[in-house]
Symmetry: C2
Subunit: 652 residues, 2 copies
């Protein structure tokens, strides 16, 4: 295995893009301040958080009782991580002061031994580490470590990093192969990938080893979650009165087998994605081919059989989980926002191992569709579940569909998703490029300026583009001296026709595309330009016939964007609309539509729903009429009056 | 309102029919004996019942503890009711002896005050009538009363009727408008219709009044279930640790409004159907137009918007409930067997009020499809849920679909359905005819001989037919003297072309059809014959476009039978099959197919599921090939190797 690909520090990249600047601005100006208000319970009519209050109480600064989920701390940590990213891009003294104050509180809430968890400190100090399966201690620790690394990278202030190291050192003293240590691992994976970040930041190899220990131990027999359950006298956290052997539900925790032997993605989809991310981190850093093969197998299983066209994963609300190959129901879908973000993490780690566009394609798919859809245009309302088919009355009246919300909510009792979106969008620069000593690979396209050091030379790469509305991207290279390096430009999987010019000279792409990237090896001069043109026609997409839910249906896609039809444009009973062999779809940019977007219109046919005289069933007669339909980008759905929404449209 | 239509006693009708004799024989020879074994826990590997044991313990005949659901008694009662019907048709001294012994046990289990319920007697004697919402006491009482009436009608033995009257008298002393009585009503309706039967059998008007009281009181404010909940210090039976106000879930119990004001069928579908049956019973006997209008409104709501093509009702497993108009998902359906039976009860009561074929059409639809499908050809395996779309792997791996069983089970922890099927099939003669002083209406067609007394004359009406495999029915009238009466013959809603001959003379149906019945008014002579010919082509049926789940799909129906396609005939991925404009479907009788059935074959097209190279999504290309498909009657599904099954097939 060659040296790992590197990721550009956020400080070295500045985004200035018509499409994305709106989001980075929203995250900085609205999402981060709004979420701080939510974490402090200052948003009227939103579900309570109490997360900051828990810390103040644990720090001895306030009186009160712990409130919230056992993983409530992680909401603060994810917010702090987002702040860390935001400050790297947009210094903001006031925000930094707020964060510093929060870090001071956290420091006071930490035990002298390094332990940090407000639930256990306040509610069950004698029960630390007794229920790794249910209680999210290591999960919260992981989120704190991620926050610490991000904030330290932003500010250079060591306090939060020191708290994290002290905590990690303590955890390392509790878990590991040595006889006196616990042989456990988290019920909700997260700390593995976090410890790798802490190792990268501090150089302390113990953190890498501990992460690897958690990965390696997972799924072994005898089963740790049964051992700790027996020690607890068979009492569970979530259902204390119903003893249920942990053996019955190992898939949920990805503990059904040692991770190296796992064939298919199973169980809770966020946990799974975080685990696979950590596995890829370890595999890359330890040259562990067996672990890498497991990552590739699990990756292929997800993207070839268990991923929605929107990049969402998780086919059932029960356990927020994967189900099995090709089962992708649209109306009882889960597709949790956090799971799509986890899939992006996993993809990015795979890109650090090998520059293959299949990984970046999925980053783009999940980011431009599920992640962006999860947040309202106002930055203050969020989806936890991202459905592909919505009938609002069914969400209200059929409990099987009650998790499908037709309207984004202000906050959640389990508020994992909104701060996860904040931390992803505020670190979006991390997903644009990877590089090694001789090459730069561009994975995402957005107006930006990025600064690289390749073989000792300083290189600035500027992108100018109107992506995703059109597929023309202009790269400008700035170098002090002529500099040889490889530039790899992703040719997205959705693109069937691309063009490339260097300094105006056409280049035959067929000859230079490898693993989905146009590879330009040359000695670059200052002000060299590259023009990449990705044809972006409206595409009609079908799903593999094994996906029963999408039989006879198609989705509309243009470039990276999946489209949907909404009741607001097309009236109710969207299922009565069908595309036909004569359907022609046209894309046009409408700058009045929700801040500007390409919308797609065309002709279709519609089943006549009149003249039924109260009948529920009758002998078939063809009775359709032509209609014009309007499709909008999926990520913009639900930003107008609530109504039906549909991604997979019938096709005749 | 005119005099109510009457139902023929089972003793006056004998069925001798190629199709039905198999079922009546099965019920007598297999189902009733098998269920007795199950109730006595003598079926290996079946879920335990303990229902008979509970009675023996309550009777002081055995030591032990109550086991099972709070409504476990009702399984014995429904079995006893089936025995009562069976004995009316097929006298059987040994079975009668078994039943008499059971009745002796029940007599011993009854309290001196008349109270009868093994759960409360054994487990919570001080909690009688404290939780009508959850605890099924009145429900079990209703089933006992129904059993008593059936068994008394079969044998003329008063013992069971006396037990029932003693119990009913006691209940009447507890509930009612008088100040000292409880103002309650059952959480699970059933006793209302049972008390009407007891009134019909005994002539005791108090029973009718009590039934009417339960009906009238239901849904009033202040809410009785809240009143009793407050008296219980807010403790529920099913979730004692989670105080949840009964106000939050009134739909489930059909207590959201007084019954006269109810507009749409809501909540638990079996409860709803039993309630509506009782309402129709009361409306008919009290000339209560307002109540009758409510029955018609609820009937129309069900059959016009909430009934599966199989006659099943209940769109969600959550609460085993109706959801709302036009929401009829096929793969997360509930369609409980008992609910279809309840719908048949409701329809029969409506037929007693007015001879309109819409009611009998639904009896036929639910009977020939859902009810028959619920039982395996061996009479020993049953479905509780009757899906219209099955993917066995999804039932195993997606908890959202785990209630959809691809294979019939031997018995159930909640075993309401199998004995309900037994009591319906053993009393099938009750659904064939209604009559009044001047007319006989035939609703169902099966080979049979029935004896009527019309205006003092004795009439024997014989049917000979190969129904449902073909639509020719020959009626032969036997009378001692020439006798004038009206004969009404249902022209089923599925039939678009029918013919009628009386003594070989064609009669123009257009002139004599009223409310879906061919009305033959004449003075009948001995050996007069009527030949009714119902054309029975293969029909392609579509659902109202408001049913989103069936958009672009059709079902195959022939006569009263809905068809389905199964993996056993058509391979997996049934969703890839589509009917086309060129599809020709042919029916043929195959006497080797599961004991003989008309199967339907024809041409269709199938999406090519090869050549995808691991892709999950790709640009659409038309890639289908012609195939021959085989459809079998829905009621026979799941009698071969487990596999996919589909009722609603794509239509291009």
């Amino acid at each position: 295995m060659s040296e790992m690909n590197r990721v550009l520090p956020l400080k070295r990249i500045s985004i200035n893009d018509k499409f994305w600047s709106e989001y980075t601005k929203l995250v900085k100006e609205v999402v981060i301040p709004y979420q701080w208000e939510a974490l402090n319970d200052r948003v009227p009519d939103a579900e309570p958080s109490h997360a900051v209050a828990n810390f103040k109480i644990a720090a001895g600064m306030e009186e009160g009782k712990f409130y919230g989920a056992v993983f409530q701390d992680s909401d603060v940590y994810k917010w702090l991580e987002a702040v860390g990213y935001s400050l790297q891009v947009h210094p903001d003294a006031e925000l930094e002061k707020t964060a510093d104050e929060m870090i001071d509180i956290i420091e006071k809430a930490q035990g002298s031994d390094g332990y940090l968890n407000t639930y256990f400190t306040l509610e069950a100090p004698d029960k630390r580490w007794t229920n790794l399966k249910d209680c999210h201690e290591l999960y919260c620790a992981g989120h704190f470590i991620e926050a610490a690394v991000a904030y330290y990278n932003a500010t250079g202030k060591r306090k939060i990093l020191d708290i994290a190291c002290k905590f990690a050192d303590y955890i390392d003293s509790v878990f590991g192969p040595e006889e006196h240590k616990l042989k456990g691992y988290p019920g909700h994976e997260e700390i593995e990938l976090a410890l790798v970040k802490l190792y990268e930041t501090t150089g302390e190899k113990r953190y890498l080893n501990l992460a690897k220990y958690f990965i390696d131990e997972r799924g072994k027999n005898p089963y740790y979650f049964t051992i700790e359950w027996e020690k607890r006298n068979y009492v569970d956290f979530w259902s204390p009165n119903k003893p249920l052997s942990p053996e019955t539900n190992r898939n949920y925790y990805q503990t059904h087998k040692p991770v190296r032997e796992q064939e298919a993605a199973v169980g809770h989809s966020v946990r799974a994605a975080y685990l696979y991310t950590g596995m890829a981190d370890i595999a890359a850093r330890t040259n562990d081919k067996e672990l890498m093969d497991a990552c590739k197998r699990l990756w292929n299983n997800i993207v070839s059989t268990q991923m929605y066209i929107t990049g969402g994963i998780g086919s059932t609300r029960h356990g927020e989980a994967f189900t099995f190959d090709y089962e992708l129901p649209n109306d009882t879908v889960y597709s949790e926002t956090c799971a799509a973000i986890g899939l992006i993490f996993f993809a990015q780690r795979m890109l650090r191992i090998e520059n293959k566009s299949c990984y970046a394609d999925v980053i783009e798919r999940a980011l431009y569709n599920t992640v962006l859809a999860s947040m309202a245009k106002d930055g203050k309302h969020f989806f936890y579940v991202n459905p592909l088919e919505v009938w609002p009355e069914a969400s209200m009246k059929n409990p099987t569909k009650q998790h499908i919300k037709p309207v984004r909510q202000k906050w959640f009792g389990c508020a994992c998703c909104p701060p996860n979106v904040a931390r992803l969008l505020s670190s979006i620069g991390h997903y644009m490029y990877t590089m090694d000593d001789n090459s730069i690979y561009a994975h995402l396209y957005m107006g930006s300026s990025a600064e690289f050091d390749i073989n000792g030379a300083n290189i600035v790469l500027e992108q100018a583009t109107n992506y995703p509305w059109d597929g023309e991207i202009i790269f400008k290279v700035s170098v002090k001296n002529d500099t040889p390096f490889r530039l790899g430009l992703r040719i997205p999987g959705w693109c069937n026709k691309a063009g490339l010019k260097v300094n105006g000279e056409p280049i035959n792409l067929c000859e230079i595309v490898k693993d989905g990237y146009a590879i330009i090896d040359r000695t670059w001069k200052n002000n060299d330009t590259v023009l990449l043109t990705l044809d972006m026609p409206v595409e009609i997409i079908q799903a593999n016939p094994r996906v029963r839910a999408n039989a006879g249906k198609v989705a509309i896609q243009r470039g990276p964007l999946v489209y949907c039809i909404e009741e607001a444009d097309n009236g109710p009973i969207l299922s009565s609309i069908a595309l036909t062999a004569d359907t022609k779809l046209t894309a046009r940019y409408d700058d009045s539509f929700l801040g500007g977007a390409v919308i797609i219109t065309g002709n279709a046919e519609r089943v006549n729903d009149q003249g039924w005289n109260g009948q529920l069933y009758r002998p078939y007669k063809a009775d359709s009429y032509p209609v014009n339909i309007t499709a909008i980008p999926y990520y913009l759905w639900g930003n107008r009056e609530p109504g039906e929404m549909l991604v997979w449209i019938r096709n005749r």
